[in-house]
Symmetry: C2
Subunit: 409 residues, 2 copies
């Protein structure tokens, strides 16, 4: 089944926001057997919207839209569908009553403009929206489908997952595509390639290899009549790959380094503390993205000034003797914060960014240390000396290397 | 002049990335007098690309593309343009020599596939790419323009700003649209509205008001024959607004709270240190996004565990007596980190997130403190108790309130 996505909203055309709704929906279509052909951003303009729907109905089997379902004059998605299919919207009294009840519950009268949200054309059915006032539309006509969803992600995501996707699983009979992403670090692309070489060059499941900033990813892509059958194709390949690369595998699919580490620490009842300079808090801020971080993370110090390192237990003489950007300093930071907070693991990160120079050493030079009971893992890295790259790369590397240390326990 | 954008790449259609190139180019078109009609994502497919170009040439005056200029078989943007305009690409020997020199400089021979990057059709001219191997194309034919740029932002941004935009400023004679965004905090939307009410309801310059998570924004939009003339329309309105709202204005246009604070601190030679719990390092990580942060920022502590607060100078009895989530704790943290690091300002942030409860107080409760010589600014906030919202909101509020304190010095 061929699909396309329309993201509706003049603010998207003004470049004030990137279209994250489009990519969110796009990522979910292969598993439903829908082949995405185009994503188009259209402004809040009735003629352009109607044109976009007409063109979509010619070249695709299903059109998904996000946005333009609000109550204002600028919200024209419903009107665009009606115009494209040549039907007239009629106010649905039972929906008007629901809307009135919704506003009464909030202690206000329904604004007159919200009546638009009770419009329906004969070929459309409402998709209920438990998280807002704008119901979606499911329009089916001449074998084509249009799915209109609201723009706010907090309303659109549950509408898609709870109502749209289940219905599509019933309807779409095309082959589905399922992807499994295995994330490794510690081996180069060539070495990974060689280790699993026999799985390359096949059609189904297809195996791809990608060098990313957080290591080498292996992506298994399978097509089958349904998700269960596709999983059956993926499973033996995944097992073989993981058994050969086990010490290097740190995560799967959309998993982030901080999620992988958080889960591993929680499972073993272990704790972590951090002290970083050049990564500037990117490391600690990543760790606190994990919902239950308080159960494994004790805190972090972001030391630009050496005084803060010393206040938190780093011996002044280590910095004096070896410099703030040295393996010794990183190790002393990891050990000091581990000791100060009574944590099982301590991470230390130092490096040079921007135009600073320190004893003639190059910017982009960085040192990592991970301290545990009776052992320290140390690493020297050279990274493009741009702040954003260094922050992300060092935080990810520190977390992934910690995950590998936990794997080896 | 009517424009559209094509973002080229199957990985965009797979939802692996959001299309940030499209929104980046989109944001720059109004000031060039180009009215953007559509942004479309197209996969690496020759027929679909050629179709998209043909349709664009019918309905728009200028088409911008990003992506698909690499050396591989999947890079088909050039081929799509050639097919749409019915011209045949010819290899340009002088570009082949440039490419060969580029690869020689890196100590390797040019891969044969890179020859594609020396293709040109008669209606096109190269746009040099000093940051990569893929030159852009500027195609002009029958009064229509196609601008093809590479996908990597590090190559596309300078090509657009240094070469494409200047040429468009010469060619496009349409009215340009210039926007000035004034960011305030500390007054509600109603109060801001009243203070500058006489400027609303006019066509040119138009004044809009928007409630955002970092305060109330006023946006002045002017149209005129060129940028200078539009600026002249904006200037008196901007001056009047800023003079009335001065104590509440914290930034302009794309400025972030951390940039505004960084600039203000550097100008006055003042320094900052932070200690945060619930914001989890979002505050310190934001501050270190500012390129010259080392000149005004001394460091930050992210204390999940109370032990880290105490190790950095917070009196244990303050936490025992008032609790970790209290105004007293936030103030003690701000004062302690200011003192420990000898900074001019100290920020303290505490709060409750998620399912934790503390003495029956609600999650979403947070306290801020900003300590300076002889004074402390204290604030109690109630925020939707979602981690991401609390982190961003508290970090932004702390920085903006600090900016207002510096303004008042």
């Amino acid at each position: 089944m061929k699909g396309e996505i329309l993201s509706v909203g003049t603010e998207l055309l003004m470049g004030e926001l990137a279209d994250t709704n489009g990519s969110w929906v796009a990522a979910r279509l292969p598993a439903l057997g829908i082949q995405l052909q185009y994503v188009t951003i259209v402004g809040d303009n009735l003629d352009m919207l109607a044109d976009a729907f007409s063109r979509g109905l010619q070249r695709s089997d299903i059109i998904f839209t996000t946005g333009g379902l609000g109550p204002t004059q600028d919200d024209l998605t419903r009107e665009g569908v009606a115009k494209a299919v040549g039907e007239t919207p009629v106010v649905q009294q039972e929906v008007v009553r629901d809307l009135e009840r919704y506003f009464q519950g909030r202690g206000t009268a329904m604004p007159a403009t919200n009546i638009k949200q009770a419009y329906l054309i004969p070929s459309a059915r409402f998709i209920p929206n438990p998280n807002g006032t704008a119901p979606g539309w499911w329009t089916q006509r001449n074998g084509k489908i249009i799915v209109n969803m609201p723009g706010p992600p907090g309303e659109m995501h549950p509408m898609f997952e709870d109502q749209v996707a289940p219905k599509l699983r019933e309807i779409v009979k095309d082959e589905v595509t399922i992807t499994r992403n295995i994330k490794t670090i510690g081996l180069g692309e060539g070495a990974v390639d060689e280790t699993v070489s026999e799985f390359f060059g096949k059609e189904n499941p297809y195996l791809g290899i990608y060098a990313k900033q957080d290591g080498v990813h292996l992506r298994i892509i399978a097509r089958a009549k349904d998700a269960a059958a596709a999983q059956k194709l993926i499973q033996p390949v995944e097992q073989a790959i993981v058994s050969r690369l086990a010490p290097y595998v740190w995560g799967y699919d959309e998993e982030t380094p901080e999620q992988a580490v958080g889960q591993a620490l929680v499972q073993r009842g272990l704790t972590l503390a951090t002290m970083e300079s050049v990564s500037g808090g990117y490391l600690v801020n990543s760790i606190t993205e994990v919902p239950d971080c308080a159960s494994f993370f004790k805190g972090g110090v972001v030391a630009v000034d050496d005084g803060l390192k010393i206040a938190n237990g780093v011996p002044a003489e280590v910095i004096q003797k070896h410099g703030a950007v040295s393996q010794q300093a990183a190790t002393a930071m990891a050990q000091a914060i581990r000791r100060t907070l009574g944590a099982d693991f301590g991470i230390g990160v130092v490096g040079m960014v921007g135009s600073r120079s320190d004893g003639g050493r190059q910017v982009g030079l960085a040192y990592l240390a991970i301290a545990a009971q009776g052992q320290v893992k140390e690493m020297e890295l050279r990274i493009p000396p741009r702040r954003a790259v260094m922050k992300r790369r060092l935080a990810n590397t520190a977390l992934i290397e910690l995950k590998r240390m936990i794997n080896a326990l």
